[in-house]
């Protein structure tokens, strides 16, 4: 199984702060194929954004450093590349869409020019050629009247339109991997739906692999093919989409699912939150970071990080609770939805 588009193994990114070492990402592995979408789910401090920025080589050093792992993109280990090669990778092979399209655009430069600059930078096109391509790119992401809109400034665009511009910039170089970090979180729900559609279309058009980072399990259910659930810098569960929603094995995943108010619930059900507070990344235990909040904690949970256990095809989980016991516990959860036949 060597020919993944992206193959991340044992990625670890630490931050060396005045107060101690923050293990923001700790031994994370995943793969991504063309035309596939992986959703990385987690709460603040889970390491999901740091993991993506490690891929892009954008961890500020100091205080951060990718301390371990291999990041293979099409047979090339990104960790061995020079700064210059990494810059080329960022524009051409991996592109990123950020959460806040307002602060990611230059407020005093015309939108068309910003997209064109991205093209000139990475594709060595002439200015007029780049301009033409920029307008085409804007039109492709669904900006109506693109030639005129290209002459406008970011403040004349709504949030949703700005996010389209960001996508146009990101896909202008036909990237292999598109990282979208909470691309819809700052947008209104009706606009969110539009943006997710655009991302999907772009993925289809360029055969890209998409890494979608989000805290919103609804968006995950909508577009992800597989899901990596992160907690305290660790991957706790990694599985195809339906497996996560209907055959989850990790108590944290259960907790996330039963914390969600459901729009489609016919009667009012009391939520089952995860008790306690998010962990302090400076004082993560040696073992599972979920200890202290996990309602089913065992003595060995504090000792060592459990190895990955494969519970179904392509479905891995890190948990010390024996599998039969896990299934019994899960059956008692009020919200749990058994896999549909």
């Amino acid at each position: 199984m060597a020919d993944h588009l992206l193959d991340v193994k044992d990625l670890s990114t630490y931050f060396f702060t005045h107060a101690g070492v923050v293990k923001a990402v700790n031994g994370v592995s995943f793969t991504l194929e063309r035309n596939e979408t992986i959703g990385i789910v987690g709460e603040s401090g889970s390491g999901k954004t740091v993991a993506a920025m490690s891929l892009l080589g954008l961890i500020p050093d100091p205080p951060g450093k990718v301390v371990g792992g291999t990041l293979m993109l099409d047979q090339r280990d990104l960790r061995t590349l020079s700064d210059e090669e990494m810059r080329a990778v960022r524009g051409n092979d991996i592109a990123m869409i950020f959460q806040d399209p307002m602060t990611s655009l230059n407020p005093v430069m015309k939108v068309g020019k910003q997209v064109a600059e991205a093209i000139v930078l990475h594709q060595k096109k002439s200015n007029s050629e780049a301009r033409r391509m920029a307008i085409a790119a804007l039109a492709r992401v669904g900006i109506p009247d693109a030639p005129r809109r290209a002459e406008q400034y970011p403040f004349e665009f709504s949030g949703g339109m700005r996010q389209r511009v960001m996508i146009a910039m990101a896909v202008s170089s036909n990237p292999d991997v598109l990282i979208a970090d909470e691309p819809t979180t700052a947008l209104d729900v009706t606009i969110q739906a539009q943006i997710i559609d655009v991302i999907r279309e772009m993925q289809f058009e360029f055969n890209s692999g998409v890494i979608l980072i989000t805290h919103d399990l609804g968006v995950i259910a909508e577009i992800a093919d597989k899901v990596m659930v992160m907690y305290g810098g660790r991957t706790v569960e990694y599985a195809p989409i339906d497996e996560i929603f209907y055959n989850a094995h990790h108590p944290y995943t259960w907790g996330l699912l039963s914390s969600l108010p459901r729009l489609d619930a016919s009667k009012k059900v009391r939520l089952t939150p995860i008790e306690g507070q998010p962990p302090n990344l400076l004082f993560l235990p040696e073992g599972c970071p979920f200890v202290g909040r996990c309602p089913h904690e065992l003595p060995q949970c504090r000792g060592e990080w459990p190895a990955e256990e494969t519970v179904a095809p392509a479905h891995g989980v890190h948990c010390w609770i024996p599998v039969d016991q896990r299934l019994a516990l899960r059956a008692e959860l009020p919200h749990f939805k058994e896999p549909a036949a």
């Binding site: 709460e43 603040s44 709504s158 949030g159 949703g160 339109m161 209104d188 729900v189 009706t190 606009i191 969110q192 739906a193 539009q194 997710i196 559609d197 805290h215 919103d216 399990l217 609804g218 968006v219 995950i220 259910a221 909508e222 989409i241 339906d242 929603f245 907790g255 996330l256 699912l257 039963s258 914390s259 969600l260 108010p261 459901r262 729009l263 489609d264 619930a265 016919s266 009667k267 009012k268 009391r270 939520l271 089952t272 939150p273 995860i274 008790e275 507070q277 998010p278 939805k337 549909a340």
Partner: protein, 350 residues
């Protein structure tokens, strides 16, 4: 008499331009909003940005002066309350804010933040106030010792609990919850929602819950009011909202919310709204939703439909909508009439 009666509430912000700061236009943030809230219920106020829902929350408490309309709390007109009446209202009506970081003064200890209302309203002695703060900390699930700390020593969820404790200090009857869980992580959000539900039962509270998150609003509210561009377009029992939306904007909003269930997601059809929300400084003529509405007809461009109760048992009681072509439900069948809904027509045409 309802606990809170809001009628024709309006809040227009002036747009001032130039050196002379002349008013060159108005932002119609809230434009003719009416609803009642019964004692003990939770009214959800939902909508997208520019909808005006947060402004409604603030205008109810007179934190921002309204341009027009009336707000009546227990028979007292909030808009015209005297200084003395207002002091009384301040302890009866409280607010919890969205941002757990910006809503707590970073230079005050938690005990002073939670107890500030008691000091302002001169409730009890120092010792009694201290006891009350400890009690409040306990009520919201924090330990009384933590009251000696400063806000930055707490996580987002804990800070939101502090904000709730502050709101409870004076035994209010009504609490405006302005996006109280939007800034919180999923697992913490559920904790705070459960806490709010428990407090409501325990202290017989009435809530106005303002949020952009339809799932959250539906979960916590008894009734849901949907706002669009400063207007109320639909009020519905939250139990029937998902299955029987009548206004096309509500339908689109519901269908745009992704459901955390892949199988449901694959089978759902999404109503895609074209374009963006127009500027509240230049709202469309006629029905404010008509430029984006899939059902819009000629009549929709003439005047804003009136906000009126709709018949039909399936759609629940107390169901109100402002639409000429609302969806109707009969014997489990959904249909839209060809003729405009008579009750919604402006008075001179009806």
């Amino acid at each position: 008499m309802s606990l809170l009666e809001v009628s024709d509430l309006r809040k227009h912000f002036p747009i001032r331009t130039g050196v002379l700061k002349r008013t060159t236009g108005w932002v119609y943030a809230v434009d003719g909003v009416s609803f009642d809230v019964e004692k003990g219920e939770t009214m959800g106020l939902v909508g997208e940005s520019g909808g005006g829902k947060s402004t409604v929350g603030r205008a109810l408490l007179r934190l921002t002066p309204a341009t027009g309309g009336n707000v009546t709390f227990e028979g007292i007109n909030v808009m015209k309350a005297s200084r003395g009446e207002m002091q009384k209202l301040r302890s009866d009506m409280q607010i919890v804010f969205q941002d757990p970081y910006a809503s707590l003064n970073p230079r005050m200890r938690v005990r002073d933040i939670v107890g500030e209302g008691l000091v302002i309203h001169d409730v009890g002695t120092d010792a009694e106030r201290k006891k009350r703060v400890a009690e409040l900390m306990d009520i919201v699930g924090l330990s009384p010792e933590q009251a000696e700390r400063y806000p930055h020593e707490f996580s987002g969820g804990q800070r939101q609990r502090i904000g709730i404790a502050r709101a409870l200090a004076l035994n209010p009857k009504l609490i405006i919850l302005d996006e109280p869980v939007s800034a919180l992580d999923v697992s913490i959000r559920a904790q705070v929602l459960n806490l709010l539900e428990d407090l409501q039962d325990e202290f017989d509270l009435t809530y106005v819950f303002v949020s952009h998150d339809l799932s959250v609003v539906k979960h916590i509210s008894d009734r849901v009011a949907v706002m669009y561009l400063g207007k109320l377009v639909e009020i519905s029992d939250s139990a029937v909202l998902y299955d029987f939306p009548q206004h096309p904007y509500t339908e689109a909003l519901l269908s745009a919310v992704p459901i955390p269930d892949p199988q449901t997601e694959r089978s759902r059809k999404r109503i895609m709204l074209e374009g963006d929300v127009p500027s509240p400084a230049d709202p469309p003529k006629g029905c404010v939703f008509h430029p984006r509405c899939p059902r819009a007809q000629e009549i929709c461009t003439t005047a804003m439909p009136r906000h009126v109760p709709t018949p039909g048992a399936d759609a629940g009681e107390r169901h109100e909508v402002a639409c000429y072509f609302p969806a109707r439900f009969k014997d489990g069948q959904r249909f839209v009439a060809d003729e405009p809904f008579r009750d919604a027509l402006p008075e001179d045409q009806a």
